[in-house]
């Protein structure tokens, strides 16, 4: 993986248009909401709820793109587009990969937030 966890151009542009202080708050919101989305993905997978699974992946993709978390966005996008059936065959493997990438994103954002 050659791309950075957070694309700095995207993140800088976000700060410039929305204001650095606001972006800090937005990061806090994301760090509070994203674990819920990851949990939602797991429970939707366990319950076989395709709509909920797709929506959670969609939300995570959308927010990842906002902050420039391109790799996380790509993983979430794949889950959104391939759907529950595909994820069921793959087991929890892809969700684990997603969670791992999220932990990198969370660390990077936390660092940026205090920068």
């Amino acid at each position: 993986m050659t791309q950075p966890t957070i694309d700095s151009a995207t993140f800088d542009e976000l700060k410039e248009t929305a204001g650095a202080e606001f972006v800090n708050e937005l990061v806090d919101t994301f760090l509070a909401e994203a674990p819920l989305m990851l949990a939602d993905l797991r429970s939707a997978l366990a319950a076989g709820d395709a709509d909920r699974f797709r929506r959670a992946a969609h939300s995570l993709k959308s927010n990842s793109h906002t902050f420039g978390a391109l790799a996380l966005g790509a993983l979430a996008r794949e889950l959104e587009l391939t759907g529950l059936d595909h994820a069921l065959k793959a087991g929890t493997q892809r969700l684990d990969a997603l969670a791992l990438e999220y932990s990198r994103v969370a660390a990077a954002l936390t660092e940026l937030r205090h920068a």
Binding site: T17, A18, G19, F22, E25, L26, T29, F30, E33, R52, R54, R55, H58, S59, K61, S62, N63, H65, T66, L81
Partner: protein
Amino acid sequence: MRDVRHGAARLLVVDDNKVNRLLLARNLELQGHSVALAENGRVALEMLRRESFDLLLLDIEMPEMDGFQVLEQLAKDLHLRDLPVIVTSSLEGIDNVVRCIELGAEDYLTKPVNPVLLKARIGASLEKKRLRDQQKELVRRFATPEVAQDLQESGFALGGKRVRASVLFSDIRDFTPLAESQPPEETIDLLNTYYTLMFDAISTHGGVVTHIAGDGLMAIFGAPLPLPDHCASAVRAALEMIELVEMFSRERAAAGKPQIRIGIGIASGEMVAGYAGTNERATYTCIGDTVNLAARLEAHTKVARRAILIDGTTRTALGERVMVEPLGPVPFKGKAAAVDVFAIDPSQKR
């Protein structure tokens, strides 16, 4: 409705995702708008029905009620269907964009939304809304509420439909010499007061004024909206018109001004009602023998020296409710057979 010309508008942002909601609201507030938030379609619809907004920013993928369902609900709602909607979504696929536009969305922006693009699209949407509001206001001012409502519900289309209705013509007796004997400003004042009184009498009884020209007017009872007892309504309106003109005339006499009198003709039956003209300029009107007859009856009031003349159809529908004086058959231009004409004494109680 707020004045959105100077850019500031009240917007509703609907998104189930908190980060998206906050970021969109932030961008909009930085552009000077005031923003309210809803977390799904159902909540958004409740807010839209309770409060007034200039524009809706709508996410598609949401629990409870998604954006497609919101667009469908808005299209069905007479009060909300003109609300501009900009869809902001990270849903992929051109079919989703097409579906939103087909359901009535004004625009579709992909998330993350570029703030500059957002500003441009919102500006364009609000400007379009302002023009639409202006147009509605014009329709309201130059058309009657009934015609405005018919236009809003059925849309504009040239052509008419057959209806059963009563048509009323009225004008001021000896208006030309009166107008020539006074300054034009005074004539405008006179006409304005006169029309205010006449519109009031006509609309009180369910009629719609379709034409005014000089000192004359035409009104329809029973179109565009059906009116059960349209003959009696037209006659009651006529009696009230005469009474109001008499009051107005007494006031004028007291102020040393010449008195005025009016003549009214009413005919009832089948006619074609609808929009006539061109696609650019049209009026709501009624056309048919019944309309011509009402105009002839109004002209005949001068010959018969009666204030109100009606045709046989109107007379029959009145029954015993109003005292009617038969004047016998009168040959009218354009009519093969003579027409039975009846006069109504305006001094009787309505």
